[in-house]
């Protein structure tokens, strides 16, 4: 394959460095708006799709998108069917055993969601006392709240995310602590139109989840991608794209 490309390059009389490298970006074939989704005509749209294209352009990489089933996306990377994964993949130690991540391009904080007119401050004991705070059981959010309030606050415990969001809409609870990325679908839905992120968890004991692009281990393109990401962050392209999809700082980290 490489040989063919080289032969072709030579045949057309092009010097190798001038040839932009072709990279296939694997993306979850299931829609995950606003991060990514595929239209009926086969084209990909969404924040991650645009961002990846911008980064590739800045890094002089020639990228195309390809839909891959989520549960087979890492094997697809390992077998060279795709060259990187830009599909809201959270950087976890377990994944780092098999793939290598770029610098994070999105961080997902835990956010307190509530009615847009509700006055809320997680650090004001008076407000907390008069707030009905809900969280899903068995999540790290629950651990965090229990830790933060030392069990002094009555939390409403839910079995599932959709149940607590239904009760939030019904007004039975005031505020829900939830992952930001997992809440985007609700916040952009008709039901959630009167709700917004009232506050964000800013606590060094509960760092946000970070999302990065996944590559095969030792891939030289990681450094190029990181450079490209740095460029789009610095020249404002990142914000330009992000502002189309989000009304908050989706990067959530100090910019390089």
């Amino acid at each position: 394959m490489k040989k063919t490309a080289l032969t072709l390059a030579l045949a057309f009389g092009l010097a190798a460095p001038a040839l932009a490298q072709d990279l296939k970006i694997g993306i979850d074939s299931a829609p995950y708006p606003p991060m990514s989704w595929q239209e009926a005509d086969g084209s990909f749209h969404g924040f991650e799709v645009e961002l990846a294209m911008a980064v590739c352009a800045a890094a002089a990489l020639n990228c195309t998108h390809e839909g891959v089933a989520w549960n087979g996306i890492i094997p697809a990377l390992e077998t060279n069917k795709i060259d990187m994964i830009v599909s809201s993949m959270t950087i976890t130690p377990k994944r780092q055993e098999v793939v290598e991540f770029s610098d994070p391009y999105v961080s997902s904080n835990a956010i307190y969601i509530g009615h847009k007119d509700f006055v809320f401050d997680p650090n004001d004991p008076e407000i907390i006392k008069n707030t009905r705070l809900a969280v899903q059981t068995g999540t790290s959010h629950e651990d965090y709240l229990t830790r933060k309030f030392d069990g002094q606050v009555d939390l409403k415990i839910y079995q599932a995310q959709d149940e607590q969001l239904a009760d939030l809409v019904a007004g039975r609870i005031d505020v829900v602590l939830s992952g930001r990325m997992g809440s985007l679908a609700f916040l952009s839905s008709e039901e959630g139109k009167d709700f917004k992120a009232l506050a964000m968890v800013e606590d060094e004991t509960y760092p946000p989840l970070k999302i990065g692009a996944a590559f095969r281990k030792g891939d030289a393109n990681i450094a190029k991608f990181n450079e490209g990401l740095k460029t789009v962050l610095q020249n404002g392209t990142y914000d330009e794209i992000a502002n189309k999809y989000f009304d908050f700082d989706v990067y959530g980290m100090p910019k390089p």
Binding site: R132, D143, T146, G151, D154, A166, A170, G171, R172
Partner: protein, 267 residues
């Protein structure tokens, strides 16, 4: 062996036969293994919550049994007295509520009816709102209505089972219909229904953990939270099994005492 010791030993054997001693020994050994062999260091942290949960569980159980029973009386009576729409209504009620899962009813009341009520304009500024926001009123409502269906069926049989002669005797004494009902019909029916009703209240007690699914912080909710926090499987579940077993045991003993007090055999 003296002649005197023999009857004592016989009596002892009657109270404490060998098989019962073996049972107790196995039970104590199991308990010992559970207490010493498993980890319980997580427990003190959850004890205050567990105690609150325990009280909530008992309160919901008691409220649903009382309200349920009060609804059951007219339900049973309607099926015995009426031949028209009242009877159909009450038969339909009992059939529907007994024929569908309690968990489903609970969810229909909380996530269905309860959530719908919150959308009524202006309801959030009424005095009822603090209660309508809560989960426990819906839990009590669903459990009461469900208990009423079972108890109503029992009371129907009990009312029908009271001899006509006793009621007619009351009437012959010049008692009004109300007086006959409260002095003769109801007490006799209750006495007959008591063992079955007692069984129902025990069943009701064991239905209480279901309300944890609609966010009521009762005992099982605390247990399941502790399981999520500690990643333990057996200890919290064994603990709640033990609590329910003890509660059921106490309840059965208490109800048996009531039954003995009003037993037909003593008549």
């Amino acid at each position: 062996m003296t002649a005197l010791a023999l009857p004592t030993r016989r009596r002892l054997r009657k109270v404490m036969p060998v098989y019962r001693m073996i049972y107790i020994a196995i039970g104590l050994a199991t308990l010992y293994l559970i207490v010493t062999g498993l980890s319980w260091d997580w427990l003190p942290k959850y004890l205050p919550k567990l105690w609150t949960g325990f009280q909530i569980s008992l309160a919901i159980w008691a409220a649903s049994v009382i309200f349920g029973f009060l609804i059951a009386l007219p339900l049973g009576l309607a099926q015995v007295l009426s031949r028209g729409p009242l009877r159909w209504l009450s038969v339909a009620y009992c059939t529907t509520l007994r024929g569908t899962p309690l968990l489903m009813q609970l969810w229909l009341f909380y996530y269905g009816l309860g959530a719908m009520m919150t959308q009524i304009p202006g309801i959030r500024s009424t005095v009822l709102w603090p209660y309508l926001r809560e989960a426990w009123p819906f839990a009590v409502l669903a459990l009461s209505l469900n208990f009423a269906a079972y108890a109503g069926e029992i009371m129907r049989g009990a009312f029908a089972g009271v001899g006509r002669g006793e009621i007619e005797a009351g009437k012959a004494f010049g008692m009004s219909s109300t007086k006959v009902f409260f002095r003769i019909w109801l007490p006799l029916a209750l006495r007959q229904a008591l063992p079955t009703l007692a069984g129902e209240t025990v069943m009701q007690l064991k239905a209480i953990p279901l309300v944890a699914t609609v966010t009521v912080p009762e005992m099982y909710a605390v247990i399941s939270q502790s399981r999520h926090d500690t990643l333990l499987t057996y200890e919290p579940l064994l603990l709640i099994a033990g609590i329910y077993l003890s509660l059921t045991f106490l309840l059965v003993q208490a109800l048996a005492a009531v039954e003995r007090r009003f037993s037909l055999a003593k008549r």
